[in-house]
Symmetry: C2
Subunit: 149 residues, 2 copies
DNA sequence: TATTGTTATACTCTATAACTATA
DNA sequence: TATAGTTATAGAGTATAACAATA
């Protein structure tokens, strides 16, 4: 039985949270470079061709009413368009413009570069070890709503 | 040289971010149980006796104008008080009420329980291993503004 | 002059509820 | 009736700028 101030789990929490925070800050900076707010950039990164808005709401784990506004902003910037679906005319499919595709690629590259930089301090075997340890934490697996495609 | 879609660092980012997110969600739930918003709870958890508001702003990594409003809310709930400092009368020291101290203890216990639950899937040696790996990531060390005391 | 805390204000993110148009 | 998306609105978090009191 550990004391309420057990330094181990507290330190682990701080380290995990700190690493995640640095990834997030780097992503937000990349978003700002593209003239996008963090959620707008997150939406753009997650977009797949012809995804209904409902799917984007699930991927972003937010209410559909949010997606309307996020997509409004992306549309205003000429990065995505709305296309009524022929099968079900209630549905609007989101389509990337050429510029949207370009920005998406930039954001994804930035995300990859940031992650690479963060984990470069570890060797290949250590990265595998870290991944295996983290994957064993409860919830480390992924339900249905964790990402596109 | 790794491909732009290198699955390793992407998976590591997802795992780190996911673990941090679960800690955060659990903390927010604990805050809500206490009738506090996430930042209010974070402020309360970080508070030390007689800390100037300026310090709290640094610990929360936010603008001082925010602290005024956060402390307003905590004061309205009878959890903290403001005490003009005798040494420098511009400074207001934040003092916990008895109820504030009680709530702070509850939130800290909850935080510890959540972290314990998250990392319980690993054995003691593995927790040490995880800590050492995370501590080696750039920025894993802590500057001056990472916490009280 | 510089600093502490406050106020006023604004922007972003998020959710709820009521609405429309389809199904 | 139920679902996809929209609108209106509100609350939470954050920052900037201008200000008062004090140093």
């Amino acid at each position: 039985m550990s004391a309420p101030t057990d330094p181990d789990v507290r330190e682990l929490s701080t380290l995990v949270t700190g690493a995640a925070e640095r990834l997030r800050a780097a992503f937000n900076a990349a978003a700002a470079e593209q003239g996008l707010t963090p959620v707008q950039a997150a939406a753009l990164v997650n977009l797949r061709e012809s995804a209904p808005m409902r799917d984007l709401a699930r991927w972003l784990a937010c209410d559909p009413s949010n997606v309307t506004q996020i997509v409004d902003a992306l549309e205003r910037r000429g990065l995505v368009g709305r296309q009524p679906s022929p099968q079900d005319r209630r549905v609007k499919a989101l389509v990337l413009t050429d510029e949207g595709r370009r920005r998406q690629a930039v954001l994804r590259e930035r995300g990859h570069a940031q992650a690479t930089e963060l984990f470069a301090a570890l060797g290949p075997d250590e990265r595998v070890l870290l991944r295996d340890l983290l994957a064993r934490l409860p919830g480390g697996g992924c339900g249905e709503d964790c990402g596109p495609a």
